[in-house]
Symmetry: C2
């Protein structure tokens, strides 16, 4: 249990004291990169990734010996309103599937040699229906946030953050709309696959929630419209920053959850890259609002950290090239005139 | 030496007898995929990749035990016209760098556990200047094509095809313009980094070559405006199809080279995916003309198979998910109603 955070105001205090990136490590990256045997800039975003890992790990060369994925699961009161294509019991069933090694994220972590931990957050107690009141009490919100913080070991080279929770794209849409404004239709998509009347119902639920909780500060939006796994992801991302751990964000729910941090404190997500852009239309909009650009665009919409996990392959490629390539001098290759 | 191909007409004969994809393997993929514990379609292009590997490997489940990269190197007469930011001797120097393990492609093959072979094609004899006559004689063209064919072992689960050759984005632009029409400016980019007067000169060279060799059939365009590494890549891609090996294409030069096959025989590239879209503006245009869509868009422009090699990470993810995930039935997860 993180002893320094026992109420929301402590989160704001922590956001005011975030460590900056390591400019010495960034400079070491910048000194080596132009010496490598390739035209300057020709590895594109792989070069950016190596720079970002150096800067936020605070060391050069960057390392990927301990990549870790943290998947947070929660249940949602709004699931009872018919906003999902799947019943609410699927959340706990999928946690069992994660624990047994059968889900997509298990295969991806194995493929990219990444440790995985699943944090189930009080699944027997769904959040309250946010169309009637706040989804979480102050103490529930802080407890989930701290559970997220506590899930991040200091010895982590990159953290993949993802989630599972039937009904949580409804929460994500409400949080995003509450944080950035616009209409519920701008932010609400099909999630696991709702259509027709169920999609219309989902939009109504989002609009009702946003109407009830409008004009609140960002962390209050997250508490009132979010859920335990959203609060935990925000906590994990804050803790990662404190512990010099770069973060790969996953899809719509993850990005909506951590957006609250950026609105509370500009730059709070500078240590994060967005692993992929989801099919969920609000995700692209959200990434734009945060001034970021996703690494992958593969038409994925699964959640559970899967898109970010695939992007770990890009990080492995980036680190391999930056650290392993020969220089023009050592390889005897003539540089550009 | 491939004994069945000794002149260009034999290539056309082979293109007329290409094997189709394996519909039994495709059906086995389609039977398993909807049973996996995720919403239908939620892994996006990872699902397509698994289907494509099954179809073109001709087996289900698909495998990635023997991924192989083949990098072809050639020298170009037009390099003497000042079309590149690097001098022509860099081609042989970079082949030495590949052999010593110092280039980007070496690190990427190591990162994704892929075998690499570099095929240097008569580097002491650059092609002829295509603004004055055909780049290659018929016998030179066929020899390079066959060298490409001979580089593909039957026991290959996916083939990454790439190249190295100072001056070869000029050849690629000329081939693409010769195959698809339009202006030289539509197809000519900065390559390794030419600017200003050198870029204008490059465009003039492309325009002059296309004007001299216009209205030729596709393989003749490739012989007259291409180069040995381009011919070899086309040969490797044809041989891969014959041997049931799916192919990941790399950047602009690779795609231009193999486009000639698709224009000779529609469907000749159905066993190929495009690993990434390069910064070189002609590449996106070429991918569109071929009716394909790149897997990655990372601002890369290095060649040497590097973009396609990064995409092997996506293939590993796709195979891991399709083959390793639990089904709704075995995991006890409730499917969508």
């Amino acid at each position: 249990m993180n002893s320094t955070i026992s109420r929301s105001s402590h989160i704001r205090d922590a956001l005011a004291r975030l460590p900056a990136g390591d400019q010495t490590a960034a400079a070491a990256w910048a000194a080596r990169e132009p010496q490598l045997t390739k035209p300057a800039g020709s590895l594109g975003r792989l070069e950016d990734i190596a720079a970002w890992l150096s800067t936020w790990q605070g060391r050069h060369p960057p390392r990927l010996q301990h990549p870790r994925a943290r998947i947070f699961a929660g249940n949602h009161g709004v699931a009872a309103l018919g906003v999902s294509a799947f019943p609410a019991e699927v959340t706990v069933q999928m946690v069992g599937n994660f624990q047994a090694g059968g889900a997509a994220i298990n295969q991806l972590c194995r493929a990219f040699d990444m440790e995985l931990d699943v944090v189930a957050l009080d699944l027997d107690h769904p959040t309250a229906d946010f169309t009637q009141g706040p989804a979480l009490s102050e103490s529930e919100f802080v407890a989930a946030f701290v559970a997220g913080m506590d899930s991040v070991p200091a010895e982590t080279d990159v953290l993949v953050v993802g989630e599972m929770g039937i009904g949580n794209t409804t929460s994500a849409a409400a949080v995003a709309c509450g944080l950035f404004g616009g209409e519920a239709t701008d932010w609400t998509g099909r999630g696991t696959g709702v259509e027709g009347g169920a999609l219309a119902r989902k939009i109504e639920v989002v609009a009702a929630g946003v109407a009830l909780h409008r004009d609140q500060p960002p962390l209050e939006i997250l508490r009132r419209l979010g859920g335990r796994e959203l609060a935990a992801m925000a906590g994990a991302v804050l803790a990662a920053r404190q512990r010099r751990v770069p973060v790969l964000l996953d899809g719509y729910v993850t990005t909506a959850a951590v957006a609250a941090l950026a609105l509370e404190m500009p730059g709070a997500l500078d240590h994060c890259m967005v692993g992929h852009v989801s099919v969920e239309p609000g995700h692209r909009r959200l990434i734009d609002k945060l001034g970021k650009s996703a690494l992958l665009d593969l038409g994925m919409r699964l959640g559970e950290g899967s898109g970010a996990a695939v992007a770990v392959g890009l990080l492995r490629a980036a680190v391999a090239c930056h650290t392993g390539m020969a220089t023009f001098a050592t390889a005897g290759v003539t540089d550009k005139g």
